[in-house]
């Protein structure tokens, strides 16, 4: 819930701002002086969660580092919609890597800065789920093992959105993508496949691992502010709904992310050196239906008939998360 303990009635700690809060207790996003690291005019779709997540993360990183951030960005939507040559939406030093090697590029930047003795400059690597979970995982694992001084942020929209919504190792079971048709007895992506990268990161024993969503701004900003000054490899995994790929209404982007955490399918937690040290508890618990039924990629679970069997299996995943992470 409230990460920094702001107990404030009316809009409490859930809204972006509050006219009655002391300026130092306000979020970065409430500040009219925020850096707007990703500025207007980018070509992300209406209601893009990834664009929002990237601005949240980098504006917080900018504030936490006094404006000293270098960013390496893997190929993917975030790179494509922000930098059609010769325009750029970035207002931070920013470098485009290949699809799969952003962790290595960021490690190199960190090494170069270390050689120059510029340890006040912080390095952020960012990638989509494809660039993290699939093609980028080798470089990422190496970076973790060497404990390079990089904050790696994965914007997880659960598929390869940039190339037309193909399945990734982060696509949830039963979701329809361009490569997992909603046909047959087990329509959409299979159960039991895919990778839990936050768990993989924890298994490397790196200093800091966290999950977050764009529906809880204070929590996300708090995690970035905590991660930025830490040394060594840090990993933050942010759930960013994609209206196009998920078949959700652009206006519902935040709502979908909120439902993902409130039903338990996306546990929000943080871990230090592999050990879970904090979870964000569910505030108003909902069933997985609340989450699934507002997304076109799960529409085959609701029509022509409600697939209670499949929905139950998904509910069991949520229930197991709730138990494992003590989300209630």
């Amino acid at each position: 819930m409230s990460r920094n303990g702001v107990r404030f009635f009316q809009v409490g700690s859930f809204a972006v701002g509050n006219r009655l809060l002391d300026p130092e207790d306000r979020t970065v996003q409430a500040d009219e002086q925020r850096s707007n690291s990703l500025t207007s005019g980018h070509r992300a779709c209406q209601g893009c969660g990834e664009a929002l997540g990237a601005r949240y993360v980098l504006d917080a990183a900018m504030r936490a580092s006094n404006g000293k951030v270098v960013v390496a960005n893997a190929t993917g939507c975030l790179e494509v919609f922000s930098t059609p040559y010769p325009e750029s939406s970035w207002r931070v030093p920013w470098m485009h890597s290949l699809f799969g090697n952003v962790a290595a590029v960021a490690s190199g930047i960190a090494a170069a800065l270390a050689v120059q003795g510029r340890d006040g400059v912080r390095v952020v690597a960012q990638a989509g789920d494809g660039g993290t979970v699939d093609i980028g995982i080798g470089c990422l694992s190496g970076m973790f093992e060497r404990n390079d001084d990089v904050l790696f942020v994965c914007y997880d929209n659960q598929a390869y959105m940039n190339t037309g919504v193909q399945r990734s190792g982060s696509t949830p079971p039963s979701a329809r993508t361009a490569t997992t048709d909603a046909v047959g007895s087990e329509p959409g992506a299979s159960f039991g496949q895919g990778k839990d990268v936050p768990a993989i990161a924890r298994a490397h024993g790196v200093p800091y691992v966290a999950t977050a969503t764009i529906a809880d701004l204070r929590d996300l900003e708090g995690k970035i502010e905590k991660a930025i000054p830490m040394r060594g490899s840090r990993y933050v995994h942010v759930l960013v709904p994609c209206p196009l790929g998920w078949g959700s209404a652009p206006a519902d982007t935040i709502r979908v992310a909120r439902a993902a955490t409130e039903c338990g399918l996306f546990p929000v937690y943080e871990a230090e050196r592999g050990e879970v040290v904090g979870v964000t508890r569910i505030r108003r618990k909902v069933g997985v239906d609340e989450y699934l039924s507002i997304q076109g990629r799960f529409s085959h679970l609701y029509s022509p008939v409600r697939r209670a069997d499949v929905i139950d299996r998904i509910q069991k995943i949520a229930d197991s998360n709730i138990r494992r992470f003590r989300l209630e």
């Binding site: 107990r7 404030f8 009635f9 009316q10 809009v11 409490g12 700690s13 859930f14 809204a15 972006v16 701002g17 509050n18 006219r19 009655l20 979020t27 996003q29 409430a30 009219e32 707007n36 500025t39 207007s40 005019g41 980018h42 070509r43 992300a44 779709c45 209406q46 209601g47 893009c48 969660g49 664009a51 929002l52 601005r55 922000s82 040559y85 010769p86 325009e87 750029s88 939406s89 701004l217 209206p243 209404a249 652009p250 206006a251 519902d252 982007t253 935040i254 709502r255 909120r258 108003r284």
Partner: protein, 559 residues
Amino acid sequence: MRHPFAITLDVASSLANKTGGWRVERPVFVDRLPPCNDACPSGEDVQGWLYAAESGDYKGAWRRLVRDNPMPATTGRVCFRPCETACNRVQVDEAVGIRSVERFLGDHAIGEGWSFPGRMSTASGNVLVVGSGPCGLSAAYHLRRAGHRVTIYETSASLGGMLRYGIPAYRLPRSVLNAEVRRIVDMGVTVETRHRVDDVLAAREDGRFDAVLLALGAPLAHHVPIPAVDSAYVLDALSYLHGAASGHPPQLGRCVAVYGGGDTALDAARTALRLGAEEAVVVYRRTGSQMPANSEEYEQALAEGVQMHWLSTVARAGDGELLVERMELDDTGFPQPTGVFETLEANALVLALGEETDLSSVDRAIDIHSSDGVIDIGPTMMTGHPGIFAGGDVVAGERSVTAAIGNGKKVARQIGAWLSGENVSAGSRHPLAELSSLNTWYYADAPRTVQAELERARRLTTFDEVVAGLNETDALFEARRCMSCGSCLECANCFGMCPDNAVHRVLDPLAKGPLAGGDGVLRAGGVRPFAFDYDYCKGCGICVSECPSGAIVMEPEVI
């Protein structure tokens, strides 16, 4: 500029790419009418004054409050709070304690000695107000603020009408009432107490008044013939309460029966207990749930030991006892006699069967008509006689303090308009802010603050106020439970959650700072703390979905 190998164009910013062209719908800020404001019989801007109170700007809040209602410490105690019944927060957890905050502001203003803001215009009519209940006082206040000369004639020795001679002091302390009455009189109202108007036409002529307001209330007890033995002691509740309020209460004996089911009945029973009766029994024809009395007062009466005798009618008042007949509800919920009788001990029977008007002062004005005992008025609240208006309990409508105060405001405006030969233009009403247009996720979980009550022993022996006010911390907390339905509360969700940075803060050009953080006054003047940048807004509608208070809507883009 020299370009590196294979580069031909200068680096540019995406700001050159105006994504506003993608839009088919555009977000716009709106003001919707909060249900509390909609329900307030005095037409208070409840959400508006709570908004100022939330920031600790109590003076701003009070000033906003007294724009409509000059007696907030009074209504903060005795109003039946239709606002809280309508409050959207009922559906989230519990209604905002609007009345408790109103009382806090009213008491705070008395404590600080705040006076009303000055005159708003320089009208110069000479108006007679007959009767000094809440309707008359409110009208006097609004007429004075508009600049008119006002004279009040009042039969009783003191001003206040039923606030003074009906509602007992344990619900409305006289120090509070006096302070609020005095503040109105201090605006320069001429007052003549112990002045009963016997003939309104003569009074108007004698005083050369341009207009008259009849705010006569309903001061007479409704009488039902009840067979009684000669030695039976039967009196009506209004005169009993009037006597108690004036310091000359009739002695009723050990055991008192009150006949009726309204607030007046409960007030009479509670007063009797305080004045020494050992038992007070309310006899009512129907059941408890059908009682017209306010549920809050009912609970308090029970807590004080008032006994309830449902489904009974009084058949005969005897000497020290009552004969009552048991009733039964028929299929339509109407009480029917059963022929079964019982006897109750009662040294006195107090009748509280309703209040009626006394229209003898308008007998000679043949063009003032009445129906069912109340004066007929037109849409401008004028009676059939030009220049003579009426409001409050003497006309048809809800009988309550807040309704009377609202009537006073409305009639003052109508009198002013009539005197200047203008029409009052009916302001357009905004659409209602329904709960479905709010995103309640963002409101912190906050249970309602409970007002403390006096312990029972002191309630049975004194007229000390039963319900305590909130301290500042609790009042602030309670004010902050308001969800600002339908009005921007400056949470910055639109500003922070737009993926396209297409919402800007509006800076106050004078103060060179952000408007947000202000007290809402600027906003009320039409300036808003946020603005859309339609050059870049793609029309996703996240701002609409995530606006807690429903203050943004999507409108089709005109192409």
